[in-house]
Every structure is written in structure tokens, then in C-alpha cells.
């Protein structure tokens, strides 16, 4: 499905990103510029940077793609990822800005002065979370660019990795933030236009849902559709039009439902069913995990004042919510109008196309190659922005926590720190590229679930107690992080190994239901047994 216009738009996104990075590079004069953008980013820009930092290709293509394949069950995902931001706002944002300096470890060190063991633990957690989050993004980048633009997989991985490494090396978080603002606008506007085009084509949101009630989820319907039916009803992707696609989809749905009247509809749950414990564990992991993601938390250091961190988060919540709301309707609309195409792809074995291409095909259907190109550019922008944020978080933590504080014990000069930070950025980027190349074909999307699980049960739990509980102790902080980390990793390894249960305890889709309480309990019990509650007046200062 090669498109010259899509390729041009992707190249334009890449060139503007590099241009912004070069502009930022000229303004990096100190280590504070590299690690915290000089604490001078206006809140409105940080709102957009946080938006694209959070919205990866999994959000841009995967949310609407998932809904168009599985229906209502997958609406849960955007709601969970959106709701997590309420905790970021109320529990963390401005308080993190009040106490931290460059990394998550700084928050712990502000309360428990010179706690090097906590800094080391926080650095390890940051690197694990960022790496586990980043490698699936790189694999996704390779696969998606192969699908969207016919690029060979290794070329796509190296191109994405090289662009992000250059951006981070040039200006650290400063160049990353400013390029993310541009990337956010591209992906947000692309989704808005596709949403509006669907509203016009269908005749309003109610009409989209009415039609969605007339088709079953393609992921279920594929079992009952024969190759002959695919031949009869599947539209040609090169000449596809909205009217033809809708007519063929509704006709195929009618035939399928007449033979299998008990099939659920796209707006009903049951195609991607989770039981209540799995659903609750996922809900807990996402809502706490979001506030424990280091690549989100460190962005609060880039604004001048704590209230700017709050305003930036509020802006991000409106942007992210709007984006997910558009995506839900785009998902239902695409699942309806592209029903026969998605079922056809599933029956023919083109599962990655069925899951990832509905947004791009929607663009083609509604606005020809131009809108399809914008959708491809949006996906590319989403990949670049999230990989950029993750690379910055890992770079800052290794260069600042490990090198400048633990190895050099705070004696490194600014020039030395800048040099080391750029080397670290190159190494982190090389690891991400290598991971993307070596793990091609592996389904490592589960690593993102692990990243959320670890973030929820190490950083989120420990940060909540650090920022809100007076009796929390230094040993309690170590215990909550270590126990949360171990339990989360243990249950994820069991899941990856195919284990159904650990004794009487079932292994769930997300470890949070066990690891979060374990982390809290460890922190509370150890705090009651020990006495070092950290710097006097810490809580009074941040909540004043």
C-alpha cells in the first residue's frame, strides 16, 4: 500500500523534528538545559509535550484498531489510560516539581537526604521501565513503517532510532520537549480530522453507533466467514470508497448475523473478555502506573513553577481525553464501514493489517491519499515522541543518578556531565535499536504491561508514601520499592512462562493486583519498625 504522499509527509515530520532539535541544540548552555530545559518551558507547551509523550503508536493506531476489531471490550483501554492522569494531577504533578531536580530519584533524595541506595534503586527501576517500554515501541516502529510505507523492517528501526538519538543527543529534554509539541499537533489534528470526516460521512455520532449495532466484532465474525464470502464482499483497498465499503460491510454483516443470530454486536462486550480479577488488576496497574512513569514525571521539572506543572497536566488531560474520545468513535466507525475488509484480512491471515491499519485505511476512505498520508505522519510522530521521552528518561537517570551522583559523588563538572549525558543517550539509543532488530517477530507488547506494573508497584506506591505520609521511613521506602519490583517481575515472568497459577494464586494479565498491595504493605510495616522519617518539615514544605 505504498503512497508517495504518505512518504513525503513522514519525511516532512522527520525533517521538522530534526530542525527543532537543531534549534534547541544552540540553546543548551548548561546541564540544567539538557536535563530540565532550563526550567523555562511554558505550561501550554508542556501540556502538548506530555500529550505526545504519552500517546504512542499503540494509542494512535492501536486504540481505534482494537475497537474496530473487538468492539466495546477494547473501549476499556483508552478509558484506563486516560483516567490515570487524574492521579498524576492530584497526587504528583506540582509536588514533584516542588521537590525534584532532574530525575525521580531526586524526590526520594529530597526527603531522605543522601540516600544513595534509594537513588540506585530508582535508577534501576527507571532503566527497566524505560527499556521495557522502549523496545516494543522500536519493534512497533519497524513493523508499522513496513506496513505503512513498505520500508524494510531494519531500515525502519534504524531510521526511527537514529532520529530520536540525534534529537536527544543534541538537546536532551529541551529538544525532545519542543519536537514533541510539533509531533503532538500532527497526531492530534490527524485524529481530529478523521473523526470529523466520519461524523460527516455517517451523519453524526448517533448514526455511527446505530450502524455499529448492525455489525458483529470482526474478531468474532471471522470464524463464520468463508474465503468465498471474503471474495464476494471484501473491497479493493486501492479503489475503496466510503459508500461501497459501507454497503459491502453491512451486507456481509447481515449474512453473518442471519446465520449466527446470537453473535454480539460491535457496541457490546464479549469479544475480548477479561474476568473481573483480570479487569481489576489491569485497572489498578494502569491508574497507578501512569503516575509512576519516569518519562512523564521528569517533564514536571521543565516548567518554571509548581503551578505550571499543574496547569500543564490539566492541559494534557484535556488533550489526551479529546484524542481518546475521537479514537473511540473512529474505532466504531472503522469497525463498521471496514467490517468486510478487516474480516477479509483476518480470514486471509493478515492480522497485523487488521489490527493496525483501520485508522490509515479510514484516512484513505475519507480523504484519499492526502488524509491517508496525514494518518501515516501521525503514526510516525507518535512513535518518535514516545521513544524520545523514554530515551530522555533513561539517559537522565543513568547520566545524572549513576554517573554524576553515585560514581562521581556530585564532583563532575557541567562540561563533563553534558559529555557523559550525550554518550549515554547514544548508548541507550543503540540498545533500543539493537533490541528492536534482535527481537523482530517476538510479541513483546507484554513488556509495556510490565512497565506499567513496575511503575505502579515501585515508583507510584513509594512516591505516594514519600509525598503524603509523615511516618514513612527511609527503610520503608527501600522495602516498598524492592518488594513491589520483585513481586511485579515475578508474576510477569510467570505469565510469560505460561504459568496459570502460583500455588492457589492465579497469574493475571497484569501483576498490579498483587504487587501494589505488597509494596504498600512492605512500606507500611517496615516504616512502623524503623525511625528515620527523613528531612524534618518536608511534608509541610511541599503541602504549604
Amino acid at each position: 500500500m505504498f503512497s508517495v504522499i504518505a512518504l513525503i509527509m513522514v519525511i516532512v515530520v522527520a525533517l521538522i523534528t530534526m530542525g527543532i532539535a537543531w534549534w534547541s541544540y544552540k540553546r543548551v548552555k548548561s546541564i540544567q538545559d539538557f536535563y530540565a530545559a532550563g526550567r523555562s518551558v511554558p505550561w501550554i507547551l508542556i501540556a502538548w509535550a506530555l500529550t505526545s509523550n504519552y500517546l504512542s503508536a499503540a494509542s494512535f493506531l492501536g486504540v481505534a484498531g482494537g475497537i474496530s476489531n473487538y468492539g466495546l471490550d477494547r473501549v476499556w483501554d483508552p478509558i484506563g489510560y486516560f483516567a490515570g492522569w487524574v492521579l498524576v494531577l492530584i497526587v504528583a504533578a506540582e509536588f514533584v516539581r516542588k521537590v525534584g531536580k532532574f530525575t525521580v530519584a531526586d524526590i526520594l533524595n529530597e526527603r531522605f537526604a543522601r540516600a544513595q541506595e534509594l537513588r540506585a534503586l530508582a535508577m534501576i527501576a527507571t532503566v527497566i521501565i524505560s527499556t521495557f517500554y522502549m523496545i516494543p515501541q522500536m519493534i512497533g516502529a519497524g513493523s508499522l513503517m513496513s506496513l505503512l510505507l513498505n520500508w524494510p523492517y531494519p531500515v525502519a528501526v534504524v531510521v526511527v532510532g537514529a532520529i530520536v538519538v540525534l534529537v536527544v543527543m543534541m538537546g536532551g529534554i529541551r529538544s525532545t520537549v519542543y519536537s514533541q509539541v510539533f509531533q503532538a499537533l500532527v497526531l492530534w489534528i490527524a485524529m481530529l480530522i478523521i473523526f470529523l470526516a466520519y461524523l460527516v460521512a455517517f451523519g453524526g455520532p448517533g448514526a455511527i453507533l446505530d450502524k455499529a449495532y448492525q455489525v458483529p466484532p470482526p474478531a468474532l465474525a471471522k470464524k463464520y466467514v468463508t474465503p468465498d464470502m471474503v471474495k464476494q464482499y471484501m473491497p479493493n483497498v486501492n479503489t475503496i470508497t466510503f459508500d461501497e465499503a459501507l454497503q459491502k460491510s453491512l451486507a456481509l454483516a447481515k449474512v453473518t448475523l442471519s446465520e449466527h443470530p446470537n453473535l454480539i454486536r460491535l457496541v457490546q462486550p464479549g469479544a475480548f473478555a477479561r474476568d473481573v480479577w483480570n479487569q481489576l488488576s489491569l485497572a489498578l496497574g494502569i491508574i497507578l502506573g501512569t503516575m509512576g512513569l519516569p518519562h512523564i514525571l521528569i517533564y514536571f521539572y521543565t516548567v518554571p513553577r509548581p503551578e505550571d506543572a499543574r496547569k500543564g497536566t490539566v492541559g494534557a488531560i484535556f488533550n489526551i481525553g479529546g484524542f481518546y474520545l475521537f479514537s473511540i468513535f473512529v474505532g466504531f466507525a472503522a469497525g463498521t464501514v471496514l467490517f468486510s475488509l478487516i474480516v477479509g484480512w483476518l480470514v486471509q491471515g493478515y492480522t497485523p493489517w487488521a489490527k493496525n491499519m483501520p485508522v490509515v485505511m479510514s484516512g484513505k476512505l475519507l480523504g484519499g491519499e492526502l488524509l491517508m498520508g496525514l494518518a501515516a505522519a501521525g503514526a510516525f510522530a507518535a512513535i518518535l515522541s514516545t521513544v524520545g521521552g523514554l530515551m530522555v528518561a533513561a539517559t537522565n537517570s543513568v547520566a545524572y543518578d549513576l554517573y554524576a551522583n553515585i560514581i562521581r559523588k556530585g564532583k563532575a563538572t557541567e562540561e563533563e556531565q553534558l559529555f557523559v549525558a550525550r554518550i549515554v543517550a547514544a548508548i541507550v539509543g543503540a540498545i533500543a535499536i539493537l533490541g528492536g532488530l534482535l527481537l523482530k517477530g517476538f510479541d513483546v507488547s507484554y513488556l509495556v504491561v510490565l512497565a506499567f506494573g513496575i511503575a505502579a508497584s515501585s515508583f507510584a506506591t513509594t512516591l505516594i508514601m514519600t509525598l503524603w505520609w509523615k511516618k514513612f521511613t527511609r527503610a520503608g521506602a527501600v522495602a516498598s520499592m524492592v518488594v513491589g519490583l520483585i513481586v511485579a517481575v515475578l508474576f510477569v515472568l510467570l505469565r510469560l512462562g505460561g504459568a496459570k497459577a502460583l500455588g492457589p494464586v492465579p497469574v493475571l494479565v497484569q501483576p498490579a493486583l498483587y504487587s501494589v498491595p505488597a509494596s504498600f504493605i512492605a512500606g507500611i510495616v517496615v516504616s512502623h519498625l524503623t525511625k528515620d522519617t527523613g528531612v524534618e518539615g518536608f511534608l509541610e514544605r511541599i503541602h504549604s
Binding site: 466495546l72 464479549g270 479487569q279
Partner: protein, 68 residues
């Protein structure tokens, strides 16, 4: 209003609504799939309501902080 009372007044009800949706989708699928009007089902209506509820919570929090 201090930070702790803000958290209690806003976060607790929000979490109840949030986990309520998780329970609806996990344990009461038939209820979630019941049509209300046209193509709108109970589960989808709940999901769509989460957007104004979330934005409303955020606006209320911002208002309470601005009064400090």
C-alpha cells in the same frame, strides 16, 4: 481546603466510578451490553460518561486549588 481533604473529596469518588467501570466490564457483561437507545449500550454510555466525569474532576480540582 488543604491537600489531603482535596485528595479525599476528589480522588475517592473518582476511583469508585473508575473501578465501578472495571467491575461492570469484568463481571456484568450482559448488563454492559444492554441497549439503551439506538446503538448506545449501558457499557458504552458508562465509558463515554467517564470523559465529562474526568474533565469535571479536573476542573473542580483546579477551582479548589485556585481558591487557596
Amino acid at each position: 481546603m488543604n491537600d489531603r481533604s482535596v485528595v479525599l473529596k476528589l480522588i475517592v469518588p473518582y476511583l469508585i466510578v473508575y473501578f465501578g467501570m472495571a467491575i461492570l466490564f469484568g463481571a456484568f457483561k450482559k448488563v454492559a451490553g444492554t441497549p439503551i437507545a439506538g446503538g448506545l449500550t449501558v457499557g458504552l454510555a458508562y465509558a463515554l460518561l467517564m470523559f465529562p466525569i474526568t474533565w469535571g474532576t479536573v476542573i473542580l480540582y483546579t477551582y479548589l486549588k485556585s481558591k487557596e
